[in-house]
Symmetry: C2
Subunit: 243 residues, 2 copies
């Protein structure tokens, strides 16, 4: 098992050029622009992150776990969810490469949510600037506040907006922007990807039943907007007339 995860880490790091050691400075990492899109010119914040891997199905944290600090997902997908008193699982976020999770727990000493890896995942842990006795990194609060602002600005747009088909399409396009590979087939641009989450989880995220998500995807296929085979999915650009 230990061997297995080492193999995975090497494989992943080869595929994504991720430096396979701990204690990396973001400004020397090739992924800096993706993980810190907010950094403006002249921002000299030096962030040193601790890297770690999580295997598919394992938890990054669970309720009552001690808060270590926010995490940036480097590869794979992390599902953040809570379990209601009635036992329902409400999915709050699917964190994709570049996404920052755990901001909601900065103020607490214990987590309140579940964060589970849907894939084999590589992560970078950011120091918590609000922790007591933490070594203060100049500018880190400012950087994270900027990030939180952007999250508040964009996260709210992802809720269900009535009709399932439109919501699912919006969701798939969002995932495609992070995970998709762009290709051209028959002169038509398309984004190919493999969905990390089940239809049931998409439903729990958008607030629909599993079957409703299925039927929405089918409707999108009938409209020629996607091609589906299980979790393998292509988003098709609607054909446009020459301009």
């Amino acid at each position: 098992m230990r061997a297995a995860i080492n193999v995975f880490m090497v494989a992943v790091s080869r595929r994504t050029a991720f430096p396979p050691h701990h204690g990396v400075e973001c400004r020397r990492c090739p992924c800096q622009s993706r993980c810190w899109p907010d950094a403006g010119a002249g921002d000299e914040t030096q962030i040193e992150v601790g890297q770690f891997a999580v295997r598919s199905g394992d938890f990054l944290w669970r309720p009552a776990d001690a808060v270590a600090g926010p995490v940036i997902v480097h590869s794979g997908c992390v599902m953040v969810y809570r379990v209601s008193s009635t036992g329902d699982e409400d999915v709050l976020q699917f964190a994709l490469p570049g996404d920052l999770i755990g901001l909601e727990a900065l103020a607490s000493s214990r987590h309140a949510l579940h964060a589970r890896a849907l894939d084999d995942v590589l992560c970078c842990r950011i120091p918590n600037p609000l922790a007591d006795g933490a070594t203060q990194i100049p500018g880190l609060s400012r950087r994270l506040l900027l990030r939180a602002s952007n999250i508040l600005a964009h996260d709210r747009f992802r809720a269900r907006h009535g009709d399932p088909t439109g919501s699912v399409l919006e969701f798939l396009r969002h995932v495609g922007q992070h995970l998709g590979r762009v290709g051209t087939i028959d002169g038509r641009r398309q984004v190919q990807m493999r969905l990390p989450m089940s239809r049931l989880d998409i439903g729990r995220y958008l607030g629909f039943a599993e079957e409703t998500v299925c039927r929405a995807i089918r409707r999108l296929e009938e409209q020629g907007l996607v091609e589906v085979r299980g979790r393998q999915l292509s988003l098709l650009e609607p054909a446009r007339r020459a301009s």
Copy 2:
């Protein structure tokens, strides 16, 4: 009109002991503990806010307005919403006394949302720690990051959770905690309030039709959980047996 708002300001400031002048330091304001519940012991952040009044129906900001900085609502209610491409109004937040709004706009130079006063409103404007050339207030980023963290932790719990009656009840209780006056009638504790928003706006917030909100409130009344007369509303504590 100008006279009218002055009268309003005096009236409001009498009722809430709000210092009726500009440039107030939060640590000398009687509302500090409500506006900054996150401030820990030893937090010496000195925040000087600019106070201003907005009349019912007027906008604090609209899309494309320049961003001046986040705002704490001191009295009244501010509705934050966006207008979709189809013309639908999605309500994102009803900001009640003590609530901080505008965090989502920190990173931008222009607003993307509408913020409209549903009441006559008094506000305090916080300096924007992310603005270029802003006078840096030590600890302000840290304080706002803490606040953003709490917003991310709690805001997500307010979405619709399936059944309209339960969602509306949860919503009414939330409003009651901020605006309600606690009283006892017939030995039963109850929270009285006047709703600042219409049924239609509640629906736009929770994702239901106006009529569905009406019927949900009616159902709550039939269950003995509330008493309603238009926007005047009492939340009734269910009678408990002696313990």
